[in-house]
């Protein structure tokens, strides 16, 4: 299936036409979108051999708060107000330790199912959220085409079934944008065509042959809804997750994966990591609540996967990291290197890092020593063998790390490559005096989940 593009495309159309004919005779549903035909029938849902879930921590999560480099003295010097004390760290080794909020992940950590790969990112710093997200998710530097790496990955084996790729959240990310049509839902309960039975046929007729972006979305919707009915039939364990957008999204994903309807790639976005102010400490602030939510949600997700758990790998990443030195608002400005997490199937747990000693100048960054694509590519190489990495990450030569089973790379035990610190510029600022800060008032939005239309 992973041969030349022409073959993949022909194959897609051929499969689609077959299904179309079957649809005509067996009462299935077929929808035309431009020159392609998207079709699905519940009977044709083949389970995917492995599933990749990509969780984007939007806004640039501070990786040095989540996975703390406690052995680097500059970390504590740079963050007098917000550093996580060494004594509070979980699963600490000689160099790193986890934020206490990630406690729910400890059972998986001890079982060797969680890897934290530090000092990752893009080769060149980019401190714009939007540009960085676009670049990270497009992952094809120099190309003018807007096409995400996950869309290309799905495209390698696309049968025309939009549910091979699934975005959960209000807006599908760039990583899934591209030529291959994928499904997106805000949550599982929304996956239906409301109204009278005739509405479905009406929609198909009116959008027939419409090749605009909205026409493609309509076709994917109608095909995806059919399959997701099976996911809706799965037991809902949302109460074991945090009561948050992330919790609800991952709960929807778990139900969908348990239904085993052929989903290969899932994206989930979580925002609110852009902590220029009030990142805080272990007793207050944004990091405390976000880390706890993240830990609880990820643990609940893996516990909720049931029999499909052995095939699910989750990767969590941000568009970039944050500065080493805290600012005067108990926050951190935009930086460079960051941590990435890999959890679940095929992961060989632990800390992985090639660490460059931190500096404490005002604009010091965590230096990126591992291209983020090395992490993503290693997961694909192990979990989706045969996928053409050259097509998913064009013009990228992969360096193995070793955090995935069977991979040999620089690994966690390799001698740390320590670059001599650049001579620090004279400190431009005298140590600031501590201000007594008023604890942030949280404006947590109430969720209005039960507002559904009513019967006439």
């Amino acid at each position: 299936m992973n041969g030349c593009p022409e073959f993949a495309r022909l194959d897609t159309l051929a499969v689609s036409r077959r299904n179309l004919l079957r649809g005509l005779t067996a009462g299935g549903i077929a929808t035309a979108v431009g020159s392609a035909v998207i079709t699905t029938s519940p009977a044709s849902a083949a389970p995917a051999p492995s599933v990749l879930v990509v969780l984007s921590l939007r806004g640039a999560a501070d990786g040095m708060s989540l996975v703390v480099p406690h052995s680097d003295p500059a970390y504590y010097k740079a963050r007098p107000g917000i550093a996580v004390p060494k004594a509070s760290l979980l699963a600490a080794d000689a160099h790193f330790g986890l934020h206490p909020g990630l406690a729910p992940l400890l059972p998986m950590w001890r079982a060797g199912q969680v890897a934290a790969i530090h000092a990752t990112g893009m080769k060149v710093p980019n401190r714009s959220h939007f540009e960085a997200m676009e670049l990270v998710e497009d992952a094809d530097p120099g190309s003018a085409t807007r096409s995400g790496w996950l869309n290309r990955l799905v495209g390698l084996t696309s049968t025309g079934d939009p549910l091979q790729g699934l975005a959960v959240g209000s807006t599908p990310p760039t990583s899934l944008a591209g030529d291959t049509t994928v499904m997106s839902i805000s949550d599982l309960s929304s996956a239906e065509v409301p109204g009278e039975d005739g509405r479905r046929a009406s929609l198909e007729a009116m959008w027939r042959g419409d090749s605009t972006p909205m026409g493609r979305a309509m076709s994917a919707t109608l095909a995806g809804v059919d399959k997701l009915a099976k996911a809706q039939a799965q037991a809902d364990h949302a109460s074991s997750y945090p009561d948050s957008d992330l919790g609800r999204a991952l709960s929807s994903v778990a139900r969908t994966l348990r239904a085993d309807v052929g989903v290969q790639v899932v994206t989930v976005d979580q925002g609110e990591w852009d902590m220029h102010t009030e990142l805080g400490t272990l007793s207050w602030g944004g990091m405390r609540s976000n880390a706890a939510e993240l830990g609880k949600a990820l643990a609940a997700f893996f516990n909720d996967l049931g029999t499909v758990r052995p095939k699910v790998t989750l990767v969590a990443l941000s568009e970039f990291g944050r500065r080493v030195v805290e600012n005067s608002s108990y926050g951190l400005d935009h930086g460079w290197g960051n941590v990435m997490f890999a959890l679940g199937a095929g992961v060989r747990g632990g800390y992985y890092a090639r660490w460059t000693p931190l500096l404490t100048t005002l604009d010091a960054d965590l230096t990126v020593t591992t291209d983020y694509r090395d992490v993503l590519a290693e997961v694909i190489a192990v979990r989706m063998p045969g996928s053409s990495l050259a097509r998913v990450f064009p013009s990228f030569a992969r360096t193995p790390i070793g955090f995935m089973a069977g991979q040999t790379g620089w690994g966690r035990t390799a001698t740390p490559v320590v670059a001599p610190p650049v001579k620090p510029a004279p400190a431009p600022v005298k140590p600031k005096k501590k201000k007594k800060k008023k604890k942030k008032r949280k404006h947590r939005k109430r969720k209005h989940k039960s507002r559904r239309k009513k019967k006439s």
Binding site: L20, E272, R441
Partner: protein, 514 residues
């Protein structure tokens, strides 16, 4: 699913026809059924060019707006009257529906602290009020253009502490919407809401916070690639001194002791910046940026993106940028050049309605009337959950770049699903159901015993502002199981089918385009 399903009853007689059409492209030619569109010319529509202009510069052409355009002497004359009308500061449409909207920062903070009205609730009220204004205001062009600025100079309502100053921020952009970009930029960058959002309040000479200084260059003016990191640092230094008493009173002040002094240079702008009061250097700096050629390109492209197409031709952008610079950054001359351009004329139906535009148009064109909201479920309050459910609650886009304006960002299955749900609930008048009046179902039928085809044409003229086509008629027939020539009366097209007919109008590709 709580919506009544009656098709099972109704479909008995027409099941064969429906099944035949279901087969999609290959099985489509059911030679027996002609979907030749009907004709109901008694329902007036605007000329195509006027419909196009109004589709971009209003939130939906209601019959009243159609008549207003005709009375004004056509679309272009109406547009001219709209852009030259002074800002009506007394346009306080339904301000009193949400009593805390007029609070100043200290009052808003106090109301939050005393739990009288939490900050996030106040921001929901603001979103409601703006949606109601888009639905009801007579100043449609000002409102549409305000949305463009409030998105370009975006301050998310959910950002910490922003609620205290966010409402006056929006009102100021509305007042300046048709002035000049120089004025808009200065008002936005020095406004307390922006100062809070992009950390300006805590940017001091000891610790200049780069957030605002960077976004000013990247998003509001010249764009990435035209400045260096040193420029960002200078930009941040210039902007030091604006202060908010965060989390105490939210009072605003300028503190010379926090302003970084000394020579600054950002791109081609340089200044001695010797005065402890940096407000003049800020004004000069913003004035420089507003008149920069790259800013002209950005503003021109943004307007073309909002009003012409997702990939506006560079010829048009260049032309608009030139008009912008020649008119000292004034907005109205640029808008005139835009609507008079060939590129605009050639862009009919080229834009996809965003989810929020879809919602507002649904209210406008279904003729839904609000009552004074009394409870959370009241329609004027439920608006905010409807927009959130459709994926675009006003002003909540989490990043400073503002919500996207292109089809690819909004044409997703999740949007389709949410729109279908909203269309259905409102076509039926099922939800929202409190403090709201929907048109009586029979009021959509101009004449008893008319043919179904003609009814569909009449509705197309009302909701799509143009005659119907075969695709719409086929959709309406499939949705209802009614034959094109059926007589519209109690037996042929009973009124309980009207929700399906109206939803078909809202499901059609023409509805999604503007």
């Amino acid at each position: 699913m709580s919506i009544p399903r009656r098709t099972a009853l109704a479909a008995g007689a027409t099941a064969a026809a429906v099944t035949g059409a279901l087969a999609g492209p290959a099985g489509r030619a059911s030679a027996a059924t002609s979907y030749a569109p009907g004709s109901w010319p008694a329902t007036t529509v605007l000329p195509d060019a006027d419909r196009h202009l109004l589709s971009r510069f209003s939130y939906g052409v209601t019959p009243a707006l159609r008549d207003e355009v005709i009375a004004a002497g056509g679309g272009r004359a109406w547009f001219e009257a709209q852009v030259t009308a002074p800002h009506d500061a007394g346009d306080l449409t339904h301000l009193d529906w949400w009593p805390h909207l007029g609070d100043d920062a200290g009052q808003a903070w106090a109301a939050d602290q005393s739990k009288v009205r939490a900050g996030w609730q106040l921001m929901e009220d603001y979103g409601r009020r703006v949606l109601v204004r888009r639905i009801l205001t007579a100043h449609q062009v000002r409102e549409v253009v305000t949305e463009v600025w409030e998105n370009l100079l975006h301050v998310p309502t959910a950002a910490d502490g922003v609620f205290t100053w966010r409402i006056p921020y929006g009102e100021q952009l509305r007042a300046l919407a048709l002035s000049s970009y120089d004025e808009l930029l200065h008002a936005a960058v020095t406004h307390e809401a922006m100062t809070i959002f992009l950390s300006g309040y805590d940017s001091t000479k000891a610790h200049p916070n780069e957030n605002l200084g960077r976004e000013l260059l990247e998003l509001f003016t010249v764009g990435v690639g035209s400045y260096t990191e040193d420029d960002v640092k200078s930009s941040a230094r210039i902007l030091t001194g604006f202060h908010i008493d965060m989390w105490t009173t939210f009072a605003s002040s300028y503190r010379p002791q926090d302003h970084w002094t000394g020579p600054v240079q950002v791109m081609g702008f340089s200044h001695a910046n010797a005065d402890a009061d940096g407000r003049q250097v800020v004004k000069d700096y913003l004035s420089y940026l507003a008149r920069h050629e790259l800013t002209a390109q950005r503003v021109a492209r943004r307007l073309a993106l909002a009003f012409v197409g997702d990939a506006p031709p560079s010829s048009l952008v260049d032309e608009l940028a030139a008009v912008y610079l020649a008119n000292d950054t004034r907005i109205v001359p640029v808008l005139r050049a835009l609507v008079d351009s060939e590129e605009f004329a050639a862009s009919t139906d080229a834009k996809l309605r965003t989810p929020a535009e879809d919602l507002v148009a649904t209210y406008r064109l279904l003729g839904v009337t609000f009552g004074t909201p009394t409870v959370d479920e009241s329609a004027a309050n439920a608006l905010i959950w409807q927009s959130s459910g459709m994926g675009q609650q006003p002003f909540t886009w989490p990043r400073p770049d503002g919500a996207p304006l292109t089809a690819s960002a909004w044409a997703s299955p999740s949007r389709v699903l949410a729109a279908m749900e909203t269309h259905w609930a409102m076509a039926g008048g099922w939800w929202p159901s409190v403090d709201v009046t929907y048109r009586a179902r029979t009021s959509w039928i101009p004449k008893s015993d008319m043919s179904f085809r003609d009814l569909v044409d009449h509705l197309s003229r009302l909701l799509h502002q143009r005659p119907s086509d075969a695709s719409l008629l086929e959709g309406a027939c499939l949705a209802t199981g009614v034959a094109p020539d059926a007589a519209v009366n109690k037996t042929g097209v009973p009124s309980w089918l009207m929700p399906s007919v109206l939803a078909t109008l809202l499901d059609h590709p023409r509805w999604y385009l503007r």
